[in-house]
Symmetry: C2
Subunit: 141 residues, 2 copies
DNA sequence: TTAAATGCAAACGCTTTGCAATTGA
DNA sequence: TCAATTGCAAAGCGTTTGCATTTAA
């Protein structure tokens, strides 16, 4: 079922603004911040309004159509839920974001459940550190 | 070597304000936000100033005397580096914060290095999810 | 004595809000 | 038609900044 259908099904209106927010979200190759989304929206629809962007993102989040990711930038990034790619390695030297597959995290998820009874939600996980390139750079210096 | 000694050694002045920030940080049993710290400071030293708190925290961070932790609250929390307890499980239901020992994270750190060449800095790691109590609550409901 | 640090007020960036005007169903 | 949604402007929050004043060394 498409975002549009889900929106209507839950009794929400399918406004042009909402359709555009959804469109930009789907086009975004990477995680996008509210303000970045707003800028893109504004370029094709100059009447676009930042409040509406935030309100739409909030709604899509409630409907589990988008998920948030926190890369420690002091702002949150969004992407459409169905796209996957939920884990990230963020290099604190060059800012590079590496996608991390589920597989690597299974053992941790298991361990947390067994040892702490904690059901970890790893969908938004971002781990900071240093990427291989920057590690080499530092060694040389 | 104490915070005070390190500060002086690196050529920084040991002002009463800095001493108080360090004192509050040491007394804080849990991770404390800049504003919480400011409030406590203000109660014993009414001339305390929030800019000075931020500047002092920034300095202590540079000197590796305090570390930051991001619990996804939209603000950062601080604690003295020597105290340890760097990993956290944050329950998104009840807000409980569980300390997590290094041990559980070793396999992950290894895997990231081997598979991605990524040197993960797990000192600030906070994993959100659901604690055992809240898991039980939900099952009953 | 003097560079470093403080206090203040103002600005910052991101996000949320109240409210009147508009609009999808 | 009319509740839901928008646009606007203003305020919110946590944080940072410029600058004159004060102070540790």
């Amino acid at each position: 079922m498409s975002c549009h259908e889900i929106l209507r099904e839950k009794g929400h209106r399918l406004t042009p603004q909402r359709m555009l927010v959804i469109e930009v979200l789907h086009e975004a190759d990477k995680h996008i911040s509210a303000e970045e989304l707003y800028k893109q929206l504004h370029s094709r629809y100059p009447y676009a309004n930042i409040s509406t962007v935030y309100r739409t993102l909030e709604l899509l989040k409630e409907l589990n159509l988008v998920t948030e990711a926190d890369f420690g930038e002091g702002r949150v990034r969004y992407h459409v839920a169905e796209k996957g790619h939920h884990h990230h390695l963020v290099c604190h030297s060059c800012g590079k974001v590496i996608d991390l597959d589920d597989f690597t995290l299974y053992p941790l998820k298991d361990a947390l459940l067994k040892e702490y009874g904690f059901d970890a939600d790893l969908r938004h996980l971002a781990i900071s550190g240093k990427c291989s390139k920057c590690r080499k750079k530092k060694r040389r210096a």
